[in-house]
Amino acid sequence: MNTQQQNGYMLLFRSDEWYNELSYDELQKVVSQNNAWIEELTAEGKAKPGHALQRKGVTVSGENGRVVSDGPFAESKEVIGGFLVLNVDTLEEAIAIAKSSPSLAYSTSIEVRPLAEECPLDVRARELAREEQLATA
């Protein structure tokens, strides 16, 4: 895998509602640790301001988007609760930052994904076109 990236990385924070199990004091501690973590990354220029997502929403699917189903996605551990875009050059740095997240102490998980320079669909369409040309050459 090419680990050199010019486009940055996205951290996707996934969890269930673990914070409902914590006491007020514990929760306050995690929130301030987490805020300090993001502030430091932002101050160092390693992260753009992050966004938390409300734990509700809908999913649109089907041809012409006819099917609209409600979230919420409450119980699932896979629900994305927020994201952070990192301005770092390598996957190793992005993973090191993810590992330093205070929320991991609470059995959450963080997906680390390279931002694509070009849409992978576009790249694949060109590959397929080349393969067809070769096959007919």
């Binding site: 994201f83 963080i110 997906e111 669909l121 076109a129």
Partner: protein, 135 residues
């Protein structure tokens, strides 16, 4: 959803499903891609999309207290996130109307529409609780 139909902070579209390219000819795939890019460009020009990116297929997952690092894929291909848009629109209805224009929908792509929180919802809960405790 009527009372919760507003978000001051915009909406995020998460595109789920990364196996769309299976079964499409190069021309069809190119058409979907072109339509997708034109769609994003138009939304940007209209001031409705403020950010967006496709994601590379590969990646890693860091999880739990032990900080275990494992390889993607992260979910079944139909659940995996292939990219996102950040929308600057005021209501869920507008966000859903935009989601319905996604050129990937006829090919099994699903679009998750999520209100962006002004601050971490956990911090907001904490503040509400602190206010309640003072009463």
């Amino acid at each position: 959803m009527s009372t919760q139909n507003q978000s001051q902070n915009g909406y995020m579209l998460l595109f789920r499903g990364t196996d769309l390219r299976k079964g499409l000819s190069p021309e069809e795939l190119q058409k979907v891609t072109d339509n997708w890019m034109a769609w994003f460009k138009r939304l940007t020009q209209e001031g409705k999309a403020v950010a967006g990116n496709p994601l590379e297929r590969e990646g890693k997952v860091v999880s739990g207290k032990e900080r275990v690092v494992s390889d993607g894929p992260f979910a079944e291909a139909k659940e995996a996130i292939g990219g996102y848009f950040l929308l600057d629109v005021a209501t869920m209805d507008e966000a859903v109307a935009i989601a319905r224009e996604c050129p990937g929908l006829p090919y099994g792509i699903r679009v998750e529409v999520r209100p962006v929180a002004g601050e971490c919802p956990i911090a907001a809960d904490l503040r509400a609780e602190a206010q309640f405790a003072q009463l």
